[in-house]
Symmetry: C2
């Protein structure tokens, strides 16, 4: 019987991004009781119907307070949760939660994104990844170093003294897709390749960009040249291109001071992508540990809900 | 009467690229007597019908030897003209001309492209731009410096002691189009903007990438942030993005040693693009002169035809 199964339920935690809405039913300790997800991402909803999409998704669960992170708090989301500036702490972020009630009086809180204001860089924003950062800080309270969240828009954040001190967005995933699918290089790379992270071509490209200092904009054309002059296969060239883009990101991060030998690195993300970054850091001579992104979202949402009295 | 008008004609010089075929009827001194062009680019022809396309274009001209540069010498061209390695001189390139006769016994010569073989960079190739470089060396026989040919794939070449010593391709034009038209940034930039080269937003982006060392991959996301946080207009943001890409190219060239304070710079290209590069070099503190690209093609073809006895 659902009512018995969910007797310990205390909170609904929601990771609501551009393409998916993922809800988790949690008990008082933050343990997972049930999960539900839908394709009602913020992009698909187009600025309307958030309450209905959410209530439909969790209709079979008890009516509990909900805490949400991701694009749900953007201008196109359910309600806009204003950015909180860095440096910031988990408690400060919890204070910045946007709280409201649904038409059926369910309390909802939306996690704000982070904003960096900088004369030298025109600023930067994060929305969604801040919750994984909070999750990491909960898991490793004494962590001092760099957390990397690879993806379409890869985010690097510096964590020190219990605060997120600064961060930087790189367009890595989108750049890879543009080059591999939409540029003239699409004729020189395969659509997919097995084991990119383990390919010597991936490692060579990382070495070129990180160790040998080949600048990204000057490195890309060589993907075509390798095919033209050396007959390099599409599979090997896809791995090479991936290495150029990820290596280019790491080289750029080092250039702006986000990477130095002393600071430990945590890669937060899906298995495939995390493996590629792990391999790239190995070539670069930086040890890096990986963490599962979805576990950290839950952990971060629980931490923020507790700090705000929702749990 | 055509026969009188063309009494002094001595050579047909052809700039045959991916999208256009442009033929010039020249006298013994290389002066232009007539021009004709068509949309029968090498891309449009798809690997066949080159002779017919050419003979149709020049049917009203006297039957004279022809010299051709560009993609006509590529694998998809009329006949493949093997790359010549750098360093190389105009005379060495003239020796590398691929010569054949049409079915109607018209002598034709195709200019080879250039190839760079480098352990550190996977090599590089040029096809078409070498002829403009030869034209520049003919116009300024004592030139020692860097020639830049902006475009979809921007080419930088070092000229020293009467030789083309090295070169480097940057994906600048294609990168700009991908980011402005196909990436998520397309919502943050206008389709077109007047006077990009004169915009303070262009200058700011160049300053960021060249003077302040902001790495290209870390700079791009700020185009979105400027719109989101500061309400920067699409026009201003298009100029900013253009500045990031061109500034990123110049910064990358400096990083690999292609730019130093002592070497003069020649920008070879169309008016609009040359103006943007000129403005970028002004921000970077490097004086740069511009040259008209089509005049240099003709000059280069005449130089190579003379060296090979075609004129």
């Amino acid at each position: 019987m659902p009512s018995d199964r969910f007797a310990d339920a205390a909170l609904i935690a929601v990771d609501w991004g551009t393409t998916r809405c993922r809800a988790m039913l949690l008990d008082r300790d933050g343990a997972l009781l049930a999960e539900a997800d839908s394709a009602d991402g913020i992009g698909a909803l187009g600025g309307a119907g958030h309450e209905e999409a959410f209530e439909t998704l969790v209709a079979s669960w008890p009516k509990l307070p909900a805490i949400m992170a991701g694009m749900v708090g953007s201008r196109q989301g359910w309600h806009e949760a204003a950015y909180v500036g860095v440096p910031t702490s988990p408690d400060a972020l919890a204070e910045g939660l946007l709280k409201f009630e649904t038409s059926d009086h369910r309390p909802v809180a939306i996690v704000p994104g982070l904003v960096l204001r900088s004369e030298a860089r025109d600023g930067d924003v994060i929305r969604g990844e801040e919750t994984q950062l909070i999750g990491l800080m909960e898991e490793e309270p004494d962590f001092e170093g760099i957390a990397i969240l690879p993806g379409t828009h890869s985010k690097w954040a510096a964590i020190s003294n219990g605060e997120i001190t600064t961060f930087q967005t790189f367009l890595t995933g989108e750049m890879f897709d543009l080059l591999a699918r939409k540029s003239f290089l699409r004729h020189s790379v395969a659509e997919n390749a097995d084991d990119i992270a383990g390919s010597p071509h991936f490692a060579l490209a990382v070495k070129r960009t990180i160790a040998e200092g080949l600048p990204f904009l000057g490195a890309i054309f060589s993907v075509r040249v390798r095919q033209l002059l050396d007959g390099v296969s599409g599979d090997d060239n896809l791995a090479y291109l991936s290495g150029l883009v990820i290596g280019g990101e790491i080289a750029a991060a080092r250039q702006i001071g986000l990477l130095d030998a002393d600071r430990p690195i945590r890669i937060i993300g899906s298995r495939t992508l995390a493996r590629s970054y792990h391999a790239a850091f190995a070539v670069a001579g930086h040890p890096a540990d990986t963490r599962d992104g979805s576990a950290l979202v839950r952990r971060g949402l629980v931490r923020l809900a507790r700090a705000n009295g929702l749990l």
